[in-house]
Every structure is written in C-alpha cells, then in structure tokens.
C-alpha cells in the first residue's frame, strides 16, 4: 500500500503526456463532444417518460387517491414502496463496484467505479422520490424535520439516505477533480458556461504532488466510509419491515438478506450498464470482455450468497410451517403468487447462479441477457416481499370489497414507477454527456503502474 501511494505521488498530471494517454483521453472524452441523433432520441424519450410521471403524480395528488391508486387499508404499501426498496438496493452498486473492489485491489474496478457511482447517486435520489410518491401528505414532509422522532426507523432511513446521497456525491465528485482539469484543458467547442463549470469544479487542480496526496487521502477515507454506510442504508431499509410484528417480515435475517440481494442486483445492474455504455460510446477497449468475465463470476458468487439467505428466509420457516407463516408461505409456494414467485427464483437466483459458470455465457451478450433477467426479477422480488405479506395479516381479512383483498397497481402508479426508472437513466445519460463516464486518470494510473490487466486482457 505504501508503495502504491508513493507511486501515485509521482503520477502528476503532467506525467500523462505520452501518446497512449492522449488517445485514451480522446476515447473517453468522445461522448462529451457531440450528441448524435440516437442520443437525442434517447434523451427525448427519457424526458417524455419523466414528464408523464410528473403528470401522473399531479393527477394522483389532485384527484382522490381512492380512484387514482389501488392501495387500500390492508395493502397500504404498494409498488411505490417495493420500488423504493429496489432503488435502495440498486444504489448499493456504488459500494460494491467501486469501494469494495478498490479496497481489495481488484484492479479491473478502474473503468467501472464512476459508472457505478453515478448509478448509485441516481438510484438513491429516485428511491427518495418513490417514498414521497407513497406519502399520503407529501406537503408535510417538513414535519420530519420539526417533529422527527429518532426512535422511528423511517427517521433512521431518512438520515442514512441523506448521508449516503451526500457521501456518494462527494465520492463521485472528488475523483472527478483531475478529470475536470482535463476537460477544462482539452475539451473544445463547448458553451462558455460549461467551460466555466469545469474550471470552477476543478478547484485549481494542477496535479501537484501535494494535491495528489490530499486527493488520494480523501478518496481513501470516503471509500472506507461508504461501505458501512451502504450496508447501513439497505439494512435500515430492511428494518422498515423487520421492525414490525408482521410474521412474514418479522425476521432477524432481513438486513443481511436485503444487502445480499442488493449486491446481486448491483452486479447485474453493472453488467447491463457497461454493455449499453460500451456499445453507445464505443468504449470496448476499456469496458472489455474481461469485465464481463469477471462480473459473470461475481454474479455466480452473489447469486449463491443470495440463495443462501433466501433459504434461511423462506425454507426454515417453511419447515416449521407455523400458523403465523403458513398463510403467507403457502400463498407464495403453491398459491396465487406461486408462478410469480418461482419465476423470480428462476430468473433472479437459479439462472445467474448456474449459467454464467459456462465461460461462453460470460461473453457480453449472453451475460447481459442473464443480467437483464436478474434486474427484472429483482424488481419483482421486492414486490413479492412487500405486497403479498401485507395481504396476509394475523387477523383474517373479512367482509371487504374485492379491491381491498387483491392489489394490482394502477396505471398512475405504474407510470410513476416507469418515470423513476427513466429519471435514473436520464441522470446517468446526462452525466455521461457532461463528464467522462470513465475516469481517465484512474485508468491511466492503473496502466502507468504496470497494472495492465485492464488493457492487455486477452
């Protein structure tokens, strides 16, 4: 470690003048230069979906929620909450793909870390939006500040989410300071305000030894801190459920179960993200097949960890089949939700745990197909955690209208959920249009240090 720091101290900004570095820089700055037709269509599409979501939310808040939303007294938490859990899980991608790999010296993290952190920032922001969409009285959000009770898991969750957003933003931003200087110096044909922004955000970066030393130290502190924070954010989210007395949520396993699920989702999300980014921006040289290979193996490992926690979560209570659990579990295993449940098990756990064991299936395209399945299954998995459980309370549901028993999300709800997805993608897309989505200096540094695992992978 000592050695590495000494090395990096020598790695000043001015060191990167060799041709290879210039080429690298050209490649990585390319996405910022011009937005092509498809790029515009894509952004236009995302903006449209977001606006539709805003409109749907407007309808939801101005009309009666009994009409616009399918939530009722028993299933009072619906897709908004399961979507919230999904996005919190997705935001752990930053912890795994940036911090954990960095600290454990997996050098292939270098081109992935910034992608992961942007997704993390976008996801956690939209997790917050999902929660607000679920609130009955969103205009009273400020009550949390004036009347907040520290004993409430919701308050913990809000504190830890705010902390995580801030930490992720800083962790995204600090390694970007040298990139800002690169942009300031090398990007041409951009409006004045944009150049001014780069200048401001580069904080007078010149790449002096002292600056590098300070920067690396900050990054290290944050990288270490973001790991427990990430675990905390998802554990606290699990506690929103586990701190209730409902049988299906009343589990000591819940925090670890959620975190392991988030890591699996993180790997799958990363596979999908780099597949799209390398295709869209022609970054095959940096996001290589090696990354897919490694991520494929990570997918297998995370799947097995997740399966382990799922066995603890479902099969152990199922073995006992106590009266408290029987309703809910049988409903999942052989009841109304069975098909749904087993599809999630298949696509969300069994396939990612087995298929990527075959090397050929760790190539970009097949692995991405598997990963897309995992991401979709992960979303439905959260749905299955939140909703069927609510429909099986301790005391039987009797003498209520049909819509109170069975929850199917309304069009308004689904539009808002779609908009949260679009907004996350929009954040990532716009970010990649203003800042290099792959950290130039981090990749170059890896190369300079002779860690050419990145480039020379066969």
């Amino acid at each position: 470690m000592e050695e590495k720091i000494k090395n990096s101290e020598k790695t000043t900004y001015e060191t990167f003048t060799q041709e290879e570095y210039m080429e690298m820089k050209r490649d990585l700055l390319k996405p910022l230069e011009k937005i092509g037709l498809w790029g515009k269509v894509w952004i236009g599409f995302l903006v449209t979906v977001c606006l539709l979501g805003v409109y749907a939310y407007y309808i939801q808040e101005t009309k009666s929620k009994y009409v616009t939303v399918s939530l009722r007294d028993y299933t009072m938490w619906g897709v908004y909450i399961s979507n919230f859990v999904f996005f919190v899980a997705l935001s752990l991608i930053g912890v795994l793909m940036s911090a954990v790999l960095k600290l454990t010296n997996f050098e292939w993290y270098r081109p992935l870390s910034r992608i992961a952190e942007v997704i993390a920032v976008g996801a956690i922001m939209l997790a917050g939006v999902s929660i607000v969409a679920a609130m009955g009285r969103p205009e009273r959000l400020w009550h949390l500040v004036v009347y907040g009770r520290i004993q409430s898991p919701i308050v913990w969750d809000i504190i830890v989410i705010l902390t995580y957003v801030t930490t992720s933003l800083i962790l995204l931003f600090i390694p970007m300071i040298p990139s800002m200087a690169t942009l300031k110096n090398h990007l041409t044909g951009k409006p004045k305000w944009q150049m001014k922004m780069y200048e401001l955000l580069s904080f007078g970066w010149e790449g002096t030894e002292a600056q590098w030393k300070s920067l690396k130290r900050s990054i290290k502190i944050l990288t270490i801190m973001v790991i427990p924070l990430g675990v905390a954010i998802h554990t606290v989210t699990a506690w929103l459920f586990a701190t209730t007395l409902r049988a299906e949520w009343d589990s000591t396993n819940f925090g670890a179960y959620f975190v392991s699920g988030a890591f699996l989702l993180g790997v799958a999300g990363m596979v999908v993200a780099i597949f799209v980014i390398r295709k869209a921006y022609n970054l095959e040289k940096y996001l290589t097949e090696m990354h897919f290979d490694k991520l494929g193996m990570a997918l297998v490992m995370m799947s097995f960890i997740y399966i382990y926690f799922n066995i603890n979560e479902y099969l152990v209570p199922a073995y006992k089949m106590s009266g408290l659990h029987a309703n809910h579990l049988l409903n999942l295993f052989v009841g109304d939700e069975a098909l749904f449940y087993w599809m999630v098990v298949l696509f969300g756990m069994v396939i990612p745990a087995t298929l990527p064991l075959i090397p050929k299936l760790r190539k970009p395209l097949p692995l991405t197909v598997i990963a897309v399945g995992v991401v979709i299954a992960a979303w439905f998995k959260r749905y299955l955690i939140v909703i069927p459980g609510l429909a099986h309370p301790y005391l039987p549901i009797q003498d209520v209208p049909e819509s109170w028993r069975h929850y199917t999300p309304s069009l308004i709800e689904m539009t808002i959920v779609a908009a949260t997805f679009a907004a996350t993608l929009l954040i990532v897309t716009l970010f990649s249009r203003f800042f290099p989505i792959i950290s130039v200096w981090e990749v170059a540094e890896g190369k300079l240090e002779g860690k050419d695992e990145i480039i020379n992978y066969k």
């Binding site: 009994y66 007294d73 009955g136 919701i154 039987p396």
Partner: protein, 309 residues
C-alpha cells in the same frame, strides 16, 4: 335473559343520555362562543340548549359550528386527566348484530366499508366452535404503532388511548404496517366518503374525529375520549343490543355496558379474560371474555355487508 321491552327501555334511556350529552356539548360550545370575539350579527335567531337544559334564542352568528368548537376545546395529544380507559368484550354475547359497527360509523361520520370496529368470524380450529369477534383498536400499552411513527403523530396518552394527530400525520402508513391487528385505516379520499364528510362536517351529534380524519392521513378507533370524559359511553357500547361491549376506567376498577356494571378485576378473574395475541407483547387495553356459555347459538351471517367498492 331480559325481555324485549326492558331492552328497548334501556335503549331509550341510553339514547336520552346521549342526547343530553350532546346538548351539554352544544351548550358548552355556545357558552364559549358567547365570550369569543364578536362576529357580525346575521339577524337570524337560532334556538340552542344551554348547560342547564334551558332553550335560549341567540343570534346565529354566535353559534359556532359545534364540531369546530369541540375540536378547539379538545386537545387530542393530551389524555383525560385521572382516567385510564379500558374495554372488555364478552364474546359469549356477540351475535354479530353489527349495531356497534353502524353506531360507530354514524358517530364518526364514516361510510362503509370503513369500520373502526369490525366484527369477524373466527374459528380457531376445525373442531373449535366458531364465534363472532368484535375488534376495535386495542389502544395497546406497548403500542407498536407509536414506536414507528416518524413524526409523533400517533402517541400514547396518559388515559391509555393511542391518539392520532391528523394535523401532523404525513401519511407514511408505517403505523398501519406495524399494527399486527390491522386496526388502522387510511383515508384515501374515497369520493362518496369525502362528499359525506363534507356534508356532515358540522353535525352536532358527530364525534370530533369526523373532522380530524383528513384525507391522506391515518385514523382508527379512538375510544371516543371527548364524550368518555363526560361520562358518555362510546356508541359501540350503547348501540349493542346484547350488551357485549363493556367500557370503563381501569383506575375505578369498573366497566359497564350501559346497563350492567361490573368490577373489572372480578369480571376478568371470573370469566378468564384474555387479550388478543398476548405473545406479541403489545399489551392491549381491550380484554376478551371467552365465548363460553353463549347467549346465542352461532349463526353464520348470510348477508355480506361491504361488497360495494
């Protein structure tokens, strides 16, 4: 058991009591408004009952809407001093007449299918006999709902009641998720309900909670504390034709269904009172007396009440 005539006598008496109570409330309202800032006179005279039962004519501008008056007098966050309310439900007496449900709905200005008190058909096992199970909010002494509330909008009061401050509730519904008894209901702003609430917002005979249940907030059975404090029983108690529900002050060691009054401690000892899901540690303030030696044979309800969306 008692014959029908006695029964109806009791009912009439209770209704009279209820009326008198409402009149007292109205009277208090008038008294307060008389001292309040002078409003513009309308010239229109209305008759109102004073505290001592006299009918007086006053200008209509002086009569505030009673529910508003009651609301302003009644601080939902504070318990009634020196009281600790408790309820005992005798399962042997319940015949699912649903009068408690209707009485409660009418008192709180709610339309079906919203029920603060529900009557459920329970059968603990195949061989066990089915029984009717009236269920309110249990006003737990270790409430899981107040534990999780992020803004202190639901809280345990000194009089044992778990209150809801609708002006503060942000509608996160965490308390509903936390309640193992599904006792809470959320105001989703059902159009029929909204229209009804608006129409009846100023009815004098409604509980103040009519107003306090706002759209987008949680509400539930609240043991009707503002009438309880004046010695008026909640309407689920008075409406029951079979005297199933007993209500009282634990500190006085007495519960009553309006007709019969028992010592709480003796009743619970003699009839083996229990609380629902004791093992959850919520410590409910509602006790059940087991459905033994029933007053009625169990008859399955043929009518389904809440099918309309």
């Amino acid at each position: 058991m008692k014959n029908e005539k006695e029964d109806s006598n009791r009912r009439n008496f209770l209704k009279l009591g209820l009326l008198a109570g409402t009149a007292t409330l109205t009277g208090l309202g008038v008294k307060n408004t008389l001292f309040a800032n002078a409003k513009e006179e309308t010239g229109e005279k209305v008759k109102v009952l004073t505290v001592d039962g006299k009918v007086v004519e006053v200008d209509s501008s002086l009569v505030a809407h009673p529910s508003e008056e009651k609301l302003s007098q009644f601080n939902v966050r504070e318990g009634i001093p020196g009281k600790k309310f408790i309820m005992v439900i005798d399962l042997a007496r319940c015949a699912n007449a649903r009068k408690c449900v209707e009485g409660c709905q009418s008192m709180h200005g709610m339309l079906p299918p919203i029920e603060y008190i529900k009557v459920k058909k329970m059968q603990d096992s195949e061989l066990a006999a089915p029984y009717w199970f009236p269920q309110t909010c249990y006003q737990c002494d270790n409430p899981p709902c107040t534990k999780v509330c992020p803004v202190d909008a639901t809280f345990k009061r000194s009089d044992g009641i778990v209150g809801i401050d609708s002006d503060r509730c942000i509608g996160c519904k965490f308390c509903m998720a936390a309640c193992p008894y599904s006792a809470r209901t959320f105001n989703f702003g059902r159009p029929e309900q909204q229209a009804f609430s608006e129409e009846h917002a100023h009815d004098a005979d409604k509980c103040c909670t009519t107003k306090s249940s706002q759209e987008g907030t949680v509400s539930k059975c609240d043991f009707c504390p503002e009438s309880s404090s004046k010695g008026i029983l909640p309407s689920c108690v008075t409406e029951c034709p079979n005297g199933t529900i007993f209500f009282g002050d634990e500190l006085e060691d007495a519960v009553t269904n309006g007709e019969e009054t028992f010592r709480l401690s003796e009743l619970l000892t003699k009839r083996a009172g229990y609380r629902q899901f004791e093992e959850l540690g919520t410590k409910p303030r509602v006790y059940y007396l087991p459905p033994v030696e029933r007053n009625f044979p169990f008859e399955d309800a043929t009518e389904v009440f809440n099918q309309q969306e």
